[in-house]
């Protein structure tokens, strides 16, 4: 960097600014040193990753961050960053002690994960580098809305080893997004030295081959060098809309955290020299050496800060703890509640529409209604091809490439950027084709889990508003990777709604409700039924289906079948066959929503019939049917007149050969005989 362009230096920076920085550094250092004492006194702060050795770059991040235009994604070592960005010592201690009034999220997230969502200082995961995708996502929104601002995400150099960090760089450079990736390089990932992370000494060198990327190196231990680097990065980013990596050399003075003992892997020489590099001591020395401050002036400031922290400590200690009964608050935002179709039923008579048409038309109708809607995924915007099954056909043409666009084959990126995108404004609704097939959603699980935490972890301060569409299930001769049903796994995560319609009308109604709702909805589409006449129904234009309302397709007295998705049709066929042959009447319930689950309809039906058969395409073992079974046993045991039985896939992958597929997946015949056995029990 040309010295003439440097804005900050010990000689040129005004005294007022220097004093502000000194206060930030002293405030941070005292808290950083004090934090372990809280644990020793069993008062909290059981996780503390010391910032000592990173102060130069962290001060600079906080100083260039503008809460009115930018988004900041700090990591768990960013104490100075957050204080520099404006968090008070009291707010920091409230987070450390996990108090109810902690502004990051009321003590729900781990200590040392500082945040203030209302200032766009985001509450991030403990998964290292995970938030880089969120920064890319919100930067994408800034660009789409022509907003001048930057997304800054900060992390240690070892976080760049994570695959999704590469996805973030790939996406930010391809889309030319205003993201500053700050790499705080202290040489260690906990105990693993950087030479065991990657071949380059500076991990940022790994990204040299990416087009549209600027890399700036700086001394993260030096306040002025760091300030100049961050200022340059932000100006460049804003001017060119090109992402920047700021690679800051730091030292780690202490252990990784208070669960680590660095003397086990660092020698005395190293432990001594990192002390000599102490950025705070260096800054203080410079202030004195260049006669910018007298020692008395600095001591007086230090005393003032000590007093301030003492008072903050008293207030934080006396602040209320979170109440145990509050745990169920903010698990998932309240959904949109249909007014016209309260139970998600209609008597509309018209031409039947196929499942694929119902989804396509509903997407279009909702995108017309809300201009803050976006859709992305693989294959969704390739001229006449709208998704692998052409579900989004015509959307690119109608809504343009700004709102409907393709994504690279990087499922974690697709989902993670959706999470980030929503942070730009709460009106935004994102629909993603989470993967080409549900089978390929697994790489996105990292971001999926993250997403399910957001609303709860921030105590309702932030929710991603995302509909994750996935073409799901088998019966198309798809083999191991085009036949999977994954809802059994997805339902283990609190914080999402999961729906799995079987008919065109329900698909339209649930999709409309999902897009209008806050929060996350996993919308599973039985792909074998997209073009099936069986799933085709008349669909009212404004149809809505509320979450958690099952639909009874056939009423009966002798047995209840509970099902969803592809198997709904097989259950209806089996029930009709048994009615004709044996005159038993079977109640067939399509739950439509897995989360929330309509327990009432299920329990009432089982109380009436005394027998329950649960059918789904997913594996019986550990499938969602186990949850329904347990619910029935807990709430209707005394009404049971037979064992609860389940029909589903075998505990094997789905074979490609049709003979294997038939043997593995449930079908009408298997349901018929299971139902008959149970009826005759």
């Amino acid at each position: 960097m040309n010295n003439n362009l440097k804005k900050y230096g010990i000689k040129i920076t005004n005294k007022e600014t220097l004093e502000k920085w000194f206060r930030i550094l002293i405030r941070s250092r005292i808290i950083d040193d004090k934090a372990p004492n809280y644990l020793k006194q069993s008062l909290g702060w059981s996780y503390h990753a010391p910032a000592a050795g990173h102060e130069g770059i962290q001060l600079a991040i906080g100083q260039v961050f503008d809460r009115t235009t930018d988004h900041l994604f700090p990591y768990y070592r960013d104490l100075v960053t957050c204080i520099s960005a404006g968090l008070t010592s009291e707010e920091i201690i409230l987070n450390g002690l996990s108090k109810d009034t902690d502004v990051a999220g009321g003590g729900r997230h781990m200590s040392n994960h500082f945040a203030k969502p209302e200032w766009n200082i985001h509450n991030v995961s403990s998964v290292t580098g995970n938030h880089s995708l969120h920064a890319v996502g919100v930067a994408r929104a800034m660009k789409k809305y022509n907003h001048k601002g930057v997304a800054i995400c900060s992390m240690g150099e070892s976080a760049t080893s994570e695959g999704f960090f590469y996805e973030a760089i790939n996406g930010a450079t391809r889309e030319k997004l205003p993201v500053i990736f700050v790499i705080q390089d202290n040489g260690y990932g906990i105990s693993v030295p950087k030479r065991e992370q990657t071949a380059n000494t500076k991990a940022s060198e790994n990204f040299r081959g990416f087009k549209n990327l600027r890399i700036i190196y700086c001394n993260g231990k030096d306040v002025f060098d760091s300030m100049n680097a961050m200022t340059e990065a932000k100006e460049f980013c804003l001017k060119n809309s090109i992402p920047v990596i700021v690679h800051a050399n730091c030292v780690r003075i202490h252990s990784h955290s208070n669960s680590d003992r660095h003397e086990l892997y660092r020698d005395d020489y190293e432990l001594n020299y990192v002390m000599l590099y102490d950025p705070v001591a260096k800054f203080r020395r410079m202030l004195l050496r260049y006669n910018r401050f007298t020692n008395d002036e600095l001591t007086k400031i230090e005393e003032e800060i000590k007093q301030e922290i003492k008072e903050s400590h008293q207030k934080a200690i006396n602040a209320p703890d979170p109440a145990p009964e509050s745990i169920f608050d903010f698990v998932i935002p309240e959904p949109y509640v249909p007014q016209k179709y309260k139970d998600g039923l209609h008597n509309f008579q018209d031409n039947k529409k196929k499942l694929v048409e119902a989804i396509n038309e509903t997407l279009k109708a909702e995108f017309r209604r809300n201009p803050d809607t976006f859709l992305w995924g693989q294959d969704v915007a390739s001229k006449e091809k709208g998704g692998v099954f052409n579900v989004t056909k015509g959307m690119l043409q109608e809504f343009g490439n700004d709102r409907i666009f393709n994504a690279p084959i990087a499922e974690d990126f697709i989902l993670g950027t959706a999470n980030g995108f929503c942070r730009f404004k709460p009106e935004i609704r994102v629909v993603v084709e989470g993967a080409e097939f549900a089978d390929y959603f697994w790489p996105a699980m990292e971001q999926f889990v993250e997403m399910t935490h957001e609303y709860w972890r921030t105590k309702g301060k932030f929710t991603p508003n995302v509909v994750i569409r996935l073409a799901s299930g088998g019966y198309i001769g798809g083999g191991l990777y085009h036949s999977q049903t994954i809802e059994g796994v997805l339902t283990t995560f609190p914080g999402v709604r999961i729906v799995y319609p079987s008919f065109a009308d329900d698909a339209a109604g649930l999709l409309r409700t999902a897009i209008r709702s806050k929060g996350i909805t996993v919308f599973l589409e039985p792909k074998a039924l997209y073009y099936s006449p069986k799933a085709a129904t008349p669909v009212p234009d404004d149809f809505e289906v509320p979450f958690g309302k099952a639909k009874i397709h056939i009423y009966g007295d002798d047995l209840t079948i509970i099902t969803y998705g592809n198997t709904t049709h097989m259950c209806i066929d089996a029930a009709n066959k048994i009615k004709n042959e044996y005159n038993y009447t079977i109640e067939v319930i399509d739950i439509r929503s897995l989360i929330p689950l309509d327990k009432e309809t299920i329990i009432n039906s089982v109380k009436k019939t005394g027998k329950a058969l649960i059918v789904h395409e997913d594996k019986v073992f550990s499938g969602f049917g186990a949850e329904i079974t347990s619910t029935i046993i807990e709430e209707a045991f005394e009404y049971l007149d037979g064992p609860i039985k389940r029909v589903g896939s075998t505990f094997t992958p789905v074979g490609f050969n049709k003979i294997l597929e038939n043997a593995i997946l449930p079908n009408t015949e298997k349901i018929y005989s299971a139902a008959l056995n149970l009826l005759n029990y």
Partner: protein, 307 residues
């Protein structure tokens, strides 16, 4: 059981119905199971209850309505409240006690002669018809004193021996219903008192004026079979008591009488006593001894000065 029924497993749904509808184990045995290995299914119990209710509502003499094709063949009579209670009590008693009945023949010639001699004067004096019953009640109470196990009840695995002797007398009502008013503390009363008390209770019973107190706390019961010349019976124990005495009609019979001149055939007044008892706590020997003791007292009765 023997028949092809699987009642080793009762499903929660069936159990719930059993509890709600008060279905006895005996009834359960009657229900045909249509499930796996003859298991009784929820629908089986519901069908049983449906038939049971229809039968109770629409039948006479327990003949199911659908056995007859012609409605003019029968008349439907709704059970009175008291009839339903009697029915329920009778069935419950049969299911509770292990019923056994012993019989003994008693020569009551002395008793008959005594009554013939005293009845007119007694009527003049007390305005009450003199019957054999007060004398039998009187001696029954004496015998119960000697055999406290017949003046008892059972609670779980405990036998409750009653200190008071309160004897219930079964009284037939006009409409073939039955009520059992109780003579309290019989052992403290003489025959005249007993006669008066019986008379009072019978009048109250027939005029439906018995108070609840008049029919409770019985410790033993007596039923009179003799009014219609019936000889003997196997009466049902009045719960929670453990024994009931049936008094047969008094009949003249040729009888071998031992005299100082040797055995002779004579015409004697004979009566059969029937004692039903709960074999759970009373064995045949004890019951037999009780009856023999009572018989002996009655045969030796000759104290006209009781009046």
């Amino acid at each position: 059981m023997g028949n092809n029924k699987n009642i080793s497993f009762i499903s929660p749904a069936v159990q719930k119905i059993i509890n709600k509808e008060n279905i006895s184990f005996d009834e359960l045995l009657k229900i045909k199971g249509s499930g796996l290995n003859g298991r009784i299914r929820k629908t089986d119990v519901l069908n049983y209850l449906k038939i049971k209710k229809t039968t109770l509502l629409n039948s006479k003499n327990n003949i199911p309505l659908n056995d007859s094709t012609n409605e003019s063949d029968f008349e439907i009579v709704e059970m009175s409240r008291i009839r339903k209670i009697i029915a329920e009590h009778m069935v419950r008693s049969i299911h509770t006690s292990a019923h056994v009945t012993n019989f003994i023949e008693t020569d009551v010639t002395n008793l008959v002669n005594w009554r013939e001699k005293n009845k007119d004067e007694f009527f003049k004096k007390e305005n009450i018809k003199l019957t054999y019953l007060p004398v039998i009640v009187y001696y029954t109470s004496k015998t119960l004193k000697k055999f406290p196990y017949l003046n008892a009840s059972i609670e779980g695995d405990k036998i409750i021996l009653k200190k008071k002797i309160n004897i219930g007398i079964a009284v037939a009502l006009d409409n073939y219903n039955l009520i059992v008013p109780v003579i309290k503390n019989v052992d403290k009363l003489n025959i005249i008192d007993i006669a008066k008390e019986i008379n009072r209770l019978v009048i109250l019973a027939r005029t439906k004026k018995l108070s609840p107190d008049d029919i409770r706390d019985g410790t033993f019961s007596i039923t009179n079979l003799g009014s219609f010349k019936n000889l003997a019976a196997t009466p049902i124990i009045n719960q929670p008591q453990v024994a009931v005495l049936g008094i047969g009609s008094i009949e003249k019979k040729p009888s071998v009488v031992e005299t100082s001149e040797g055995d002779m055939i004579a015409i004697r007044q004979k009566m059969i006593l029937s004692l039903s008892y709960d074999h759970r706590i009373i064995d045949g020997a004890l019951a037999g001894e009780f009856l023999y003791s009572l018989k002996t007292d009655l045969e030796n009765f000759n104290n006209i000065n009781l009046l």
